[in-house]
């Protein structure tokens, strides 16, 4: 019997390669779906078996590649398998050729590998596989976007590599447990005398990891790749990209806590009730929420909107992680789950829209609710979930997060989190109205509803949004298992934090009752005049395009103008300038050094001889 | 001048080469002699068409006798030439009156012309600049008054008498 973990990790890759090699329409889709279904099935089977210490190793000679299943990794693998499977269903409809099957499934393998890795090198290897595969998905659509993504990713990856190599050199092992105990020992050593890792080294390590995981998670100001990359690829794949891949960054931060948290805490101490180093993460997370949210509001392209929204949401998770209490961690994990669920759902919906209409900007859309009722229904669940409307899963996680942050007396972070929710409403309203309601352009009259695979994918995610929203205790139970103690109390429907309580069932009941009453009123009340969405009213004055504040075009222009000063500070541009500078520098240098004149080259030789001579005597 | 038979030419070449070999090794060791003979035979086989046209006829006793007499005659001329040159080099006023003169030879064979040209080059203040058919053009460090005439034929006659004629009487016998 092949090890379950190996199956989880390698089935998608195998399926991807097979699908790519066979490249027969229909067959490759089937193989792809199986490739994503097998891990999901195994994850489901392994539920509750994390304590059994399931592990797996491949001896590569170069080193031992090890995998192990823990509660934490089960949780993340679960998210990845679920969202990945749904995204793969989406791909059945939207994938353009075997190329995408190969790399989509390869990136899934990467993510599984990252979550299941039991040593730093394995972690890094799968991190790279995942990055590379996702990059290839973007490359096909847009060279510029993919380059930006890849360069930032690789900068992050190499930062991680240096950090890992550094730890390896000091500790002599890649193994998580060995590294962890080494750091804990070192923490004691620090407290009672001299430590192996100096303060500067630790700061460097932390910085390197911050860059490494920050890039992947989309932490401000390393987020600039995400909007382009998320939008410039297959939108079904984006569901996986945003839902799964960005979680590896989160997972990385958590691993950093686990491996060297104690040591860092001992070295750098606390800021208020959060560890100092964590506060940096949290603060950047807060900025990420704000920046992502504001920019999301200003987008004219739905793909971009959700890309920025995604960034913003990951900010929440990072705040939770940064605050560093058990509860905030749990909140972060919880929100990671809900974010994967609702953002996955969103992107599948976007994929459906793009697939059916071929359009991506608000200006070209409108009134689709009528034409795509199922998709609209799914999107509506996602909207509610993201906006944090009970009893959907988004509310539960956000509520825990709020409570966790506020209870720690961290007002700035609290404010940031709150602001994030507000701005979330702003861009969701626009999306809701501009795409689904209002006047429908005539060329969208023939738009059909979601194709079956996409529909199934959305349905699965929607189901989880609802079920886990109503029964958040399911999640809480898993989270408590990870921490080995009951941090969030309550039962299946009730979350009890000790100082606050949330009863999803009760809220559901109120909601149903409320809706029933409203429906009753609607049915019994005065007959409203039904206006077809194609019916347009225009009062006498012609609308000028320059300042056309329809909901579909430049709706938030005033906001944009207000923020114009801030918007000019663009990290994206800074990075691009750095890139251009490097290229120019390379060009100048190469033309200067390799000027073609062999006599200059002979002088180089003389120079080296001179150095040797001066050095030698 | 007609060509001798191949055998004659080959044998002549072989003899000359083997003699040179003997001079080079100056050894009567049978190993050297055997090998030298074989080698001379091989090299002669390759080179005799270039080396000689007249073959064994070169070894005619009269020729050899004249050649033997020519050596001291020429050496004497050469030493005289060198003393003359020494005088011109060491003389503070550097007494020179150079020019290119035109001579004519009666020699017909190429080896004869070569010998003449080399002899000229090595003797009194003369260097053979070019040989074109029977015409020799010679750089002369002291053109005598007799040769300074404008009339071509007179000039050639005067120059030839001074330069080529002294050697020709020997060379004619040796090479013609």
């Amino acid at each position: 019997m092949i090890n379950e973990l190996a199956l989880i990790v390698f089935t998608p890759l195998l399926a991807g390669v097979l699908a790519w090699l066979l490249n027969i329409r229909g067959l490759r889709e089937a193989i792809g779906v199986i490739g994503a279904a097998v891990p999901l099935a195994y994850v489901a089977m392994l539920h509750g078996k994390a304590a059994e210490g399931l592990s797996f190793a491949i001896n590569l000679g170069v080193f031992n590649m090890t995998f192990a299943l823990s509660q934490l990794s089960w949780f993340f693998v679960g998210i990845a398998a679920l969202v990945g499977f749904s995204a793969v269903l989406g791909l059945v409809s939207t994938a353009r050729g075997s190329y995408e099957w190969l790399f989509a499934l390869m990136s899934l393998t990467g993510a599984f590998g990252v979550f299941l890795a039991n040593d730093l090198m394995t972690f890094f290897i799968f991190w790279e596989i995942m990055t590379f595969a996702s990059f290839m998905m973007v490359l096909r659509y847009n060279r510029q976007a993919s380059l930006k993504y890849f360069v930032l990713s690789i900068v992050g990856a190499y930062a991680m590599l240096i950090a890992i190599a550094f730890i390896y050199v000091k500790v002599g092992s890649f193994d998580f447990s060995a590294v962890r105990s080494a750091f804990i020992e070192d923490a004691y050593a620090r407290m009672f005398g001299s430590a192996t890792f100096s303060s500067g080294e630790l700061m460097t390590l932390f910085g390197l990891f911050l860059v490494a995981f920050g890039v992947k998670a989309g932490l401000f100001p390393l987020h600039v790749w995400a909007p382009d990359a998320y939008s410039e690829t297959n939108q079904s794949y984006t569901a996986m990209f945003s839902g799964v891949l960005s979680k590896t960054g989160i997972y990385g931060f958590i691993m950093m806590y686990i491996l060297m948290g104690t040591r860092l805490m001992v070295e750098f101490g606390m800021f208020r009730s959060a560890p100092k180093f964590g506060y940096i993460i949290a603060f950047l997370g807060g900025l990420t929420i704000i920046v992502g949210g504001l920019l999301a509001a200003l987008q004219e392209d739905i793909r971009k909107l959700f890309a920025y929204s995604s960034i913003s949401q990951v900010g929440y998770i990072l705040v939770g992680i940064g605050v560093g209490t058990a509860l905030s961690m749990q909140a972060a994990l919880f929100h990671a789950l809900s974010h994967a669920l609702f953002k996955g759902l969103f992107f599948l919906a976007v994929a459906t829209i793009v697939y059916r209409t071929g359009k991506t900007t608000f200006a070209d859309m409108g009134g689709l609710a009528e034409k795509m009722p199922f998709t609209f229904a799914m999107t509506f669940i996602a909207i509610l979930s993201l906006a944090g409307i009970p009893p959907l899963v988004g509310f539960a996680s956000k509520w825990v997060l709020f409570e966790a942050v506020i209870s720690q007396n961290l007002p700035i972070l609290g404010g940031m989190v709150f602001f994030g929710s507000a701005i979330g409403f702003v861009y969701l309203i626009r999306f809701t109205y501009a795409v689904w309601f209002g006047q429908r352009p005539t060329d969208l009259d023939d738009t059909k509803d979601a194709p079956l695979p996409l529909a199934v994918g959305m349905a699965i995610l929607a189901l989880f949004n609802v079920v886990l929203g109503i029964a958040p205790g399911l999640v809480a139970r898993e989270l408590n298992r990870i921490f080995g103690r009951d941090i969030i109390g309550g039962n299946l429907f009730v979350l009890d934090l000790g100082f606050g309580k949330y009863n999803a069932l009760a809220i559901l009941t109120y909601l149903i009752v409320g809706i029933a009453i409203a429906g009753l009123i609607y049915l019994l009340g005065a007959k409203a005049r039904k206006v077809p969405v194609t019916d347009t009213y225009q009062s006498g004055n012609p609308v000028t395009m320059e300042y056309n504040l329809t909901i579909r075009r430049n709706f938030f222009l005033p906001l944009k103008e207000t923020l114009s000063g801030w918007l000019r500070i663009s990290f994206d541009k800074t990075y691009r300038n750095i890139g251009a500078w490097v290229e120019d520098f390379g060009e100048v240098m190469r033309n200067y050094l390799y000027n073609g004149n062999v006599q200059s080259y002979a002088w180089y030789l003389l120079l080296v001889l001179l150095i040797l001579a001066i050095w030698g005597v | 001048m007609e060509e001798a038979s191949k055998v004659s030419r080959y044998l002549y070449t072989l003899i000359v080469l083997f003699l040179i070999w003997l001079a080079l090794t100056a050894s009567l060791d049978p190993q050297e002699l055997t090998f030298g003979f074989i080698l001379s035979a091989i090299v002669a086989a390759i080179t005799y068409p270039i080396f000689t046209t007249r073959g064994l006829a070169n070894l005619h006793p009269k020729r050899i006798a004249y050649a033997i007499v020519y050596v001291p005659y020429f050496l004497w001329a050469m030493i005289m030439a060198n003393l003359d040159v020494a005088y011109r080099v060491l003389h503070p006023k550097r007494p020179i009156r150079p020019g290119i003169v035109h001579c004519r030879t009666v020699l017909k064979t190429n080896p004869g012309k070569l010998a003449l040209a080399n002899s000229i080059t090595l003797t009194p203040g003369t260097i053979t600049l070019d040989v074109d058919g029977d015409d020799y053009f010679i750089h002369w460090i002291w053109v005598p008054d007799e040769a300074l005439t404008e009339k071509e034929e007179e000039h050639v006659k005067a120059a030839s008498e001074k330069i080529t004629a002294p050697f020709e009487k020997f060379l004619k016998v040796i090479f013609e």
Binding site: V62, I125, R143, F150, I162, M589, V608, W615 | -
Partner: protein
Amino acid sequence: MNGQYASLLIALPLISAFFVPLIKGLGDRAVKYYLILVTAVQVGIAGWVFREVYSTGKPIIVMAGGWNPPVGINLYIGHFAALFVVIVALTSFFMAIFSAKAIETEPTDKYAMLFLLLMLGATGMIATGDIFNLFVFMEITAISAYALTAYNKTGEAAEASLKYMILGGIGSSFFLVGVALLYGATGTLNMAQLAQLAGGINATVAQVSLALIIFGLAVEAELFPLNAWAPDAYQAAPHPITAMFSAFVVKAGLYAMARILYILSAASGWADITRLLIVLGTLTVIVGELSALRQRDVKRMIAYSSIAQVGLIAVALALGTADGVSAGVFHMVNHAIVKALLFLAVGYVGITLGGTAVENFEGLGKRMPLTAFSITVGAVAVMGIPLFNVFWSKVRIILAAMDANYTWVVALVLAASVVEAVYYIRLIHTMWFTGEGERIHENIAIGTIALFLALLIIFIGLYPDYFWTLSQKAGQDIFNVVQYVKNVPLMGVGS
């Protein structure tokens, strides 16, 4: 079979090269097939030598003329040489096949001879145990490389060749001065005996000779700023030859540098030289990558990339640790495979589409999918993506460098790798996602080689154990000088 038969590695290419004039009359085709045949036999001999060395674990010491070293010259075919003669032979074999298609310029018979002698030179450099003999083989390699660089007889080819000759000439002169000093100080040219006597050499002599020898070899090993000939030569040489340059000619130089470095590790001034080499190696990486960044000619771009990788290998070899050397050797192996593939594929594009300018690569994915795929695999491998071979050796080098406290080197090298990723990604994008074109029939033989190399890249990427073990043994062969000296049956002359 007697280990002395390993001398066939030298004898076969030589006698085969000398034989070419005798069969030249049979025509170009015949000469090309003959070349393939000879290289195939060479692969066989190399394979036998490899098996012999790795199965017994003992090096083969070929004693020319039957004289024990240091009286005679010996070949030392240890784990490194045994591994690399296979690489040399195999690459040559592939390139011989490629040459059948790629070489149209006459005179083909001369090409075949020079080709064989280039292979011979590199083999000898790797195998020899005598420092002056190393010089001879280095010159054999270099002069055949000069000739082959200019083989296309264009002005550019002659220019590149002349640059190569001038810089190579300076390098080899100073190398020889170093050898002269070393000989003057020890009275021997045998490397094993030199290793024994190195500690006792007068400090100044040791410093100067070591510096000069390394300087000379660094020109061949393409270290910045001594490598300015390299991009031109790579660009101008016939495509199969470029592949050989990158796959093993430069490797032979690197090996020689490492071998002598460790042979003389007892010499004073050693640490300074290694430090300088690391600095130069790092600069090589950076300058190479930056120079490749905006290249419009893909062959030249890959040439710069190759130079950059060579710098990385030099860094690894100069770290002065067993891990570093092993990692360097591993990278040599991987890089040889990858660059053979890349230059093969790029060269094939060059001869099929009339040039290697980047414009010719637009739509290559549609026109020549197999070739484009090969280039992609190669490019991805060089970038250091896991599941491809180069990743493992890069990681090993980085670990070794960190271990030796060269964090700044690692940081700079990795920064340069980012640049490398950028231009390779651009190439991949150009091939697959721009341009259009009719499908062109791709040569089966070349396609098979490319596919084989690509699969090898992936195989090592998935299962690096075997090659890593080989590399470790080969690295030990270079690093463990004590063992090296023990292995050479030195007779008691003097010492």
